[in-house]
Subunit: 155 residues, 2 copies
DNA sequence: AACGTTGTTTTGACTCATTCCAGAATAGGT
DNA sequence: ACCTATTCTGGAATGAGTCAAAACAACGTT
């Protein structure tokens, strides 16, 4: 939340061969504080953090970080692209059809048996798989009670 | 591919309480012939089939059919929304990061253990899950050979 | 078979997320 | 401190998808 260059984020950037800039660190801090944010939310948080920043800068940073595997882009149907700091674990996402909230879910069965690459070989020979993305769709707890059609961004 | 009202599609529409129109049947035929098409491809196929149709009509039809559960919308990040006729089985999708091709994959482990709703209860109490969507990301066979950056739509 | 209701389609403009462009500014290695 | 690659700015463009109102068509009713 604070502005100062957090060394962990700076190191991550350097490790991936990216220059350390205020904006990049601010974007990473924003995502650390508000995972699953859309670009607009990231922009608002970055501006609150480091002042004047163009929206293009935020898109560029998000794309650069996504390319380097530092952040993860998720794009549920009917929603703007959401971003989160990529963590090594095998977690997936729960998305509310009504309000769009995104919640993290650990893959309940550790090894994620149905996601094993070898199972796919027979169906799609030659396909080199690098990731399995799981989105669970449904209605979140607040929305089952509420009759309103809110559109919050974070749980 | 032919224009005539295919009774199966018409029946499906009636079953779900939708009126049977040329446009709707044509959209269903288009999806039957070219699964995982985007709206633009559907539009082109529908026009080739029944002549002049507005793009809005195609969007309306796709939304109506999606709402009624007749078609399934999939929206891999970085791609336009794709549509397929919804079939009862538990299949998922393989998406090529380079060219965007979408291929069907049966869930290798029949019961899809890691997708069981009860596993999610502890993480997100009150969340009513209705569907698990799995996207396998990677590079398809042709793209591993080709150095070009094509953008085909169907395998 | 004609009618009227109501759901669909047409038309055309419009929104909004995201990207492109080109010039100005900046970070980091030397 | 300088130099050069890289990033940032601001504005304009792109393009998928939506909105609104008028024209039209499906289908149950008479």
């Amino acid at each position: 939340m604070t502005s100062s260059l957090r060394p962990d984020h700076a190191d991550t950037l350097r490790d991936r061969g990216l220059r350390v800039t205020r904006q990049r660190v601010a974007v990473m801090s924003a995502l650390a504080g508000a995972p699953h944010s859309g670009a607009d939310t990231v922009l608002a948080r970055v501006r609150a953090d480091v002042g004047r920043v163009s929206h293009q800068a935020v898109y560029d940073v998000l794309n650069a970080l996504t390319d380097k595997g530092i952040v993860n882009r998720i794009q549920p149907a009917g929603s703007v692209a959401r971003y989160e700091l990529r963590v090594g674990d095998n977690h997936h996402h729960l998305v509310c059809r009504r309000c769009g909230v995104v919640t993290d879910v650990d893959c309940a069965v550790g090894a994620a048996p149905c996601l094993e690459p070898q199972d796919l070989r027979v169906h799609a020979p030659g396909f080199v798989l690098d990731e399995a993305e799981v989105i669970y769709w449904g209605i979140c707890d607040p929305c089952t009670h509420d009759s309103r059609n809110t559109d919050q961004e974070e749980a």
